[in-house]
Symmetry: C2
């Protein structure tokens, strides 16, 4: 029996045969606390490796050291589903010669499955593992809970290296993926900073505009006719998204509605709703806080799922296809309901689709919730700078001034009007904001393309250009 435990990342790079031009993958469950991507790339740099491509489910600003590795040619390619604003700004300045490839969480898996993306060696940051490579995110000082996004890396990579912080004796029975897929194990002292991995508490917004929009969104869900026994729901971890969960919970408890599941990234608020009987189960691709990690560890009704099961358009079935309602954000939206979550008003990369376009495509009701203007910049523009999610998959927009329903959903619009909700054409909301903020200048950018946005079907849905 081959001993899988290696003394260093350097040794793992050697034994997995990493060569110039290869692709290394990383998952983002340690979020802005991750040390592993930087550790691996520093070792690669020391070995003099060049021309590597990084395929990471997401890049955060804790990965700023990546920029130096791009500058010296260690890394020449980047593929991710999300990119933090500081790294994003540097990429927008044209740091990489090759365009960054942006995918959605589901699209990444589909591209791996169809071979239009590939991984030579996957490095899996592992809160806990055993010496044979059984891995769990639920235990240890750096527990992050679900390892949903790493399943595809483990399954698709030619070689897999587990990088555990907490090495336990074989067998780790509560593994997320098993020894069958893991070639080497390199224990390190720290895989990340727990403060950046999960937040201890998740606080709902106290902003009155956020609370107003949350109540409107909950009313929309109720009026849509979907808020019945068996209801399924997804919302994010931001203050306004959480506020929607509170507002939905209030209705569900008041009316005795027993939902089926909540999915996606899971917060303590959704755990609370599970425990109050609002849902039968949580399908968890990523834990956003410590309460979610604890619940995933202890409650069998709270189940870790792979990103494929969450969102892959090529899987025989995915959770997003069974989803009733999803709450999503936007930096920009246009009259065709196209949504931008990739770039800011200056056109700088500061985010990415994540599961945005996947859930919008799958859910029966995809709700965008966003304030009509931010820092005197209107939300609704003539044409979004970057199409992250195509308008045909977006059902409606909730702002503090009113609700705009996609004209493709006339029946939904009628239901909301019948319920007395303030529904108006999206153009009217646009004019309203422009009256307050003025019409923003649209910057014509014909610079070099520095990123491609791939839709979940693998096609290029938009490009992002250099900003000088």
């Amino acid at each position: 029996m081959k001993d899988k435990v290696l003394p260093s990342i350097t040794e793992a790079l050697r034994l997995t045969g990493v060569k110039d031009g290869m692709t290394l993958s990383f998952h983002h469950h340690l979020r802005n606390g991750d040390y592993v991507l930087n550790l691996v790339l520093a070792a690669a740099q020391k070995l003099g490796l060049k021309d590597l491509t990084i395929n990471a489910s997401a890049i955060f600003d804790c990965h700023l050291p990546l920029l130096d590795l791009i500058r010296d040619g260690t890394v020449t390619g980047l593929e991710c589903n999300y990119c933090g604003a500081l790294v994003g700004k540097a990429l927008s300045s044209g740091l990489l010669a090759k365009p960054v490839i942006f995918r959605s969480h589901g699209g990444r898996l589909a591209d791996l499955a169809r071979g239009s993306a590939r991984i030579d060696v996957a490095f899996v940051a592992a809160p806990t593992a055993d010496s044979r490579g059984n891995i769990s995110g639920k235990y240890g000082r750096s527990a992050c809970g679900s390892l949903g996004y790493a399943f595809s890396d483990v399954q698709n990579a030619d070689r897999v290296v587990a990088v555990p912080e907490n090495l336990v004796s074989y067998p780790l029975t509560d593994f997320s993926f098993s020894e069958t897929e893991v070639d080497y194990v390199v224990a390190v002292e720290r895989i990340g900073d727990p403060a950046g991995i999960v937040s201890g508490t998740t606080r709902v917004t106290r902003d009155p505009i956020g609370l107003l929009m949350a109540d409107m969104a909950a009313e929309v869900i109720k009026a849509s006719g979907l808020l019945l026994d068996g209801f399924s729901f997804q919302t994010g971890a931001g203050g306004a998204s959480l506020a929607v969960a509170y507002a939905v919970e209030k209705i569900m408890l008041a009316e005795g509605i027993h939902g089926s599941f909540a999915s996606g990234g899971i917060t303590g608020k959704l755990v609370e709703m599970l425990n109050k009987g609002c849902f039968e189960s949580l399908l968890d691709v990523q834990c956003f806080d410590l309460e979610a990690v604890r619940s995933l560890r202890e409650n069998p009704a709270h189940r870790e799922i792979s990103a494929s099961q969450y969102a892959s358009p090529l899987a025989a079935g995915a959770v997003v296809d069974s989803l009733d309602t999803v709450i999503l954000g936007a930096t920009e939206i246009d009259p065709d309901f196209n949504v931008n979550v990739h770039t800011n008003s200056q056109g700088l990369i500061m985010g990415g689709s994540g599961g945005h376009s996947d859930t919008a495509a799958g859910a029966r009701l995809a709700i965008i919730i966003a304030p009509l203007m931010r820092a005197r910049l209107p939300l609704i523009v003539d044409r979004v700078q970057t199409i992250s999610t195509p308008g045909r998959t977006v059902d409606l927009l909730v702002t503090q001034y009113g609700i705009a329903v996609n004209p493709l959903r006339a029946e939904l619009s009628a239901r909301l009007r019948d319920a007395g909700l303030k529904v108006m054409p999206i153009e009217e909301l646009k004019h309203l904001a422009e009256k307050i903020c003025g019409v923003p200048k649209t910057l014509k950018n014909e610079n070099r393309v520095i990123a491609e946005v791939l839709y979940r079907d693998g096609t290029v849905i938009d490009t992002i250009r250099q900003v000088n």
Copy 2:
């Protein structure tokens, strides 16, 4: 979203595109109570399908209707890891023109992974499933516990059809494999006869010879030096195998030894040992009784594993590679320690390797335990009729008359002698039996080859010939 629920097996055969010449797969977790293989093949016959190959992890005598389907040309190929005696006898008479392909549990997965076996459509008997194809063996009237052998089918088949008895509302969170791999769901009234699926109780042998051998085997394990904290163990469900578990438990409790895991097919006895602290965990590829099913459902230290994780020689790691000791049976053994578990004294098929050769290859100590003669037929023969497990992987033989150690393991032999155990050359045990029973006539069989036995590395280790 495509509706996966179909009204009939016939419809599933149509929609999965099953055509003449294709391969259908089945798992054997319902053992001698399985209805699903017969149901599917009856539907295929009605559709007039011909020339099908059945790849089943095991065939039991409940599958006798298969013989008629072979006779009428519906089925012309059979691949399995085990075959019950009644079906086996018919196959031995030359019913199939093509040789039956016998594999080991690990070899089946390896052949699927390397493409030397393939599955067009997998039919998965499912004690419980939801409408999207999340499947569990732990719940329902026909609960069988682990679905370990079905993982490879689900992962490798072009199309997967779940055949649940108990259809529950989405999502079934405690799934063994998920909606991502399952194309269709066909609910049926009964997937099997619970009496044949699991036994309510598993009784240890009361046969004094079996008990004597069990005590000797336990003494061997102790003397081998492996019975320390961290000890790992596998034994079967037969009376004598269970008796070894009792004998090992007695030593472990008396000496305060805390083992690491027990693996393979799990019985209530091993559950009891887990609960008494003899082991930290159970790694379960198959539940043999109701107590094991209950424990798997309730105790997180009792973990379902895939057959790949159990035994695949091509996986990056498998449990058998970490196994200290395995207890195995034999119908015949020869002076080179080759073991036959495929054919009886007349050369008729009545079994198969299952995990026999996988665990023998992996375990540090592979013990064969068998009475020196059965019905006046000696266990030890000049040359086994069928090599199921090569002698180089077998460490020793325990019989009621003494212990024979493989000459390749001189150091082990010395340890056992030092411990005062009755170790003797295998030839001496052979002569002893022949003095009692006489020397059996060896039948020269030059008939047509009706089965090939593939070793876990994919090579043909032996052939089985027609018996007229």
